[in-house]
Symmetry: C2
Subunit: 216 residues, 2 copies
Amino acid sequence: MKEGGFISDLRQKIIQSALLLFEKQGFHGVTVNQIVEDVGTSKGGFYHHFTSKDELLFVIHDTFITYVLEKAIIAKETYQSPTKKLQGIVKDFVKVFDLYKPHISVFYQENIYLKPQYEILIKKKRDQFKQMVKQAIIEGKKAKEFREDLPVEITTMAILGMVNWTYKWYQQSGLKTIEEIGDIFVDLILHAVLQPETISSKRYEEVLIEKPFFTI
Amino acid sequence: MKEGGFISDLRQKIIQSALLLFEKQGFHGVTVNQIVEDVGTSKGGFYHHFTSKDELLFVIHDTFITYVLEKAIIAKETYQSPTKKLQGIVKDFVKVFDLYKPHISVFYQENIYLKPQYEILIKKKRDQFKQMVKQAIIEGKKAKEFREDLPVEITTMAILGMVNWTYKWYQQSGLKTIEEIGDIFVDLILHAVLQPETISSKRYEEVLIEKPFFTI
DNA sequence: TAAAACAGACCAACCAGTCGGTCTTAAGTA
DNA sequence: TACTTAAGACCGACTGGTTGGTCTGTTTTA
């Protein structure tokens, strides 16, 4: 508590252990006893910090989605053009996979086990995030940066799906770094949504934060 | 047994009920008792047809992945050019969401609960499917239909992610039909992977099965 | 010294799977 | 056709193990 800050905080230790256990074995594949044993504490310690196993699951969900949402808001406010906004949101989000992979796995894998009262709270924030991607696409069409025939809703879900799915296969020990993966995703997305003229001309350099790999 | 065929087969009824229950509440959120009650049978009936609850989960997984794999093999053999192959595989796969949505949900949601001996069998088929998409991309690059700078592995996962994620949001009652969604996905994917020249010229008409919506 | 933090034995509920028994079906027999 | 019979299909009370959560303490902190 004194030194080390939250590192020695039992609550955070429990979350950390639970996170890794839930990721590999699922919420129902891990018992409270396993968690407390892994942490090196007791049932008493656990229930002093959490009212239930379900609340622990909620805390994990909430920590993650809150963080992601804040990042997205910053990206949205930082950049002006829709292209840059979309690029920023995607790149920041992909980066999160490095630090928060267990969170993300639990977030997408165990969300059906959230109790209704918690589910409502999480859904709200999750929808907010989705809305930011959607908004970027709408603005991109309006600004004539993106193709006008782009179906907003499906394109949004396609982008989210492509990025979210990363939790199923990404490994830190893999061949590509998370930065590289993020660049490739942005590249694929921009090729899919930008006006063809923008791509074939050199005009995309004006609308991008940085050159994607395909311009090399 | 006489008329109606497998529709009155208890085994199929159990799978059907379990499917819908697992989809909404998860494998561990549904008890064997709930399943047999839903079907209108008994524990005895259940364990006459399945050795365990785990085996039921495996059967659901296997039915689905076997079907998808067969479809992909047909698409691969039907079309010649890589573009058409990729287009065919994706379109067929997206169509599956209409008939097999519960299967898919269970397949991606509950796969971590598969017992090791079953997991091995499923992983084998799943990898085969992934390999077919990957192969189409490799061939597309070789044939100069796709961009040469395309990273094969990540692009494969991006496409799979985009399509797979559909199980999280697709609803039959939604605004777009599954056919439309499939077309949009193909459109986005092709814009992302095809040579820019092919898109800006009219040459894509030669390489496509049918005109995507954006040519209108 | 009191409140917060933690320990761990204990419990009630639940649940996958079992097992002895009954019912249905259809082939065999005369 | 009527009767026999055996195997497959199905029933449901029961069980042994497990699990989330409780409660009464003990230790640590401020």
